[in-house]
């Protein structure tokens, strides 16, 4: 039987940390995501970027707002179902209050041999349409060649004063 080729490839955690360093990110606020566990481990091994853990994605978005008002440059690391759970705070803080909010969102449970929109997992395939409905910009990170998506998303969140999502397509390595 022929194995299907992956369409989303792992991106190294160290490369993502390097990107965050290049953007002068000061804090990563996370609700632990299985998909990004190597990234969280890499962040825990260094001290330039503060790693904060929240109990819910609502909290993470709120902490991000406070950090931004205080002059920090935070980024979030969360799971895609957590993003769905926190849509009211996306509305209130990222859209209504216009707080720059850059989120690395992992597609936990995604079949990486299929595009996100073609996945059997309902939550995976509904993320992009949900973000389209809400008018939230997203930037797929489908492999190492997409690393610049992180910078594009971060700058978009700042320049447009709102949310921008990096969709982490495969588990980070």
């Amino acid at each position: 039987m022929v194995q299907a080729e992956p369409v989303a490839l792992p991106v190294s955690a160290e490369a993502i940390v390097h990107e965050l360093d290049e953007l002068d990110v000061t804090d990563v606020v996370n609700v632990p995501d299985t998909h990004q566990r190597s990234l969280l481990a890499a962040l825990a091994r260094q001290s330039r970027i503060r790693l904060l853990t929240a109990c819910t994605e609502d909290e993470a978005i709120a902490i991000n707002a406070g950090l931004w008002m205080g002059g920090r440059r935070p980024v979030l690391s969360i799971q895609h179902v957590g993003l769905l759970a926190a849509m009211n705070n996306v509305k209130a803080l990222c859209m209504d209050a216009r707080i720059p909010t850059c989120m690395l969102v992992g597609y936990f449970g995604r079949d990486v041999t299929r595009s996100a929109r073609d996945n059997a997992s309902r939550a995976v395939r509904l993320i992009e349409p949900t973000l389209d409905t809400w008018g939230v910009a997203y930037f797929p990170l489908e492999g190492p060649e997409d690393l610049a998506a992180i910078g594009r998303a971060y700058r978009h969140s700042v320049e447009h004063s709102g949310a921008a999502v990096v969709l982490v397509g495969a588990p980070t390595s």
């Binding site: 109990c55 709120a62 902490i63 406070g66 705070n89």
Partner: protein, 195 residues
């Protein structure tokens, strides 16, 4: 005690602290100061994201460790994001002072009782979550006299303030809150024009 008494004591001892109010505290704070709503210096009124005021305050406290941050929460609001007690305790900001006005009802929506009202213990939960110090008050004079010492403590500090329900107050008094204006103005004050 009455909510306005608790707020008056906090304003009197605020000093240069950044302050955050939500739900029932918004109107009482506005009524006690001379500045117009949405233009109170170093102050935020949090609406539209019930339960998030304390973690917005946490972000501020972590970003500005040189400033005290006072959050005036509601009991129903805190229950919306109860895990925030653990998140705050985990981050352990020494400059965060978390006051919860406990009136036992969801006043905004018509003063329906909180689930298990009279049986749960928010102060005990905060202590168990790992706050550095907890206290509770139901008398205005005792609260006002204890406040200076409380605000000198190493945080995070959690203080339950038992207040009387005042039906319908919030609905009138939080109208017109412009969260975007307040948040962007606060950032400008803290970071500067180019921030």
């Amino acid at each position: 005690m009455r909510r306005v008494e608790a707020i008056a004591a906090l304003i009197a001892e605020r000093g240069d602290a950044l302050t955050v109010t939500t739900e029932q505290a918004i109107g009482a704070w506005r009524a006690a100061v001379t500045e117009p709503a949405n233009d109170i210096p170093d102050h935020l009124d949090i609406v539209g994201c019930m339960g998030s005021a304390s973690t917005i305050a946490l972000g501020l406290a972590l970003a500005r460790p040189e400033r005290r941050v006072i959050i005036v929460d509601g009991d129903g609001s805190l229950l919306m994001q109860l895990g925030s007690l653990v998140t705050i305790a985990g981050a352990a900001p020494p400059n965060l002072f978390h006051f919860v006005l406990e009136n036992g009802v969801y006043e905004t929506s018509g003063s329906q009782p909180l689930p298990a009202e009279g049986r749960f213990d928010l102060t005990g939960m905060a202590r168990a979550a790992g706050y550095a110090h907890t206290a509770e008050f139901d008398d205005a004079r005792t609260f006002a006299s204890a406040l200076p010492e409380l605000l000198q403590r190493h945080g995070p500090v959690f203080v339950s303030v038992r207040t009387e329900p005042e039906d319908g107050y919030l609905v009138r008094s939080s109208a017109g809150t412009k969260l975007d204006q307040q948040m962007h103005a606060l950032r400008k004050r803290l970071v500067g024009e180019g921030g």
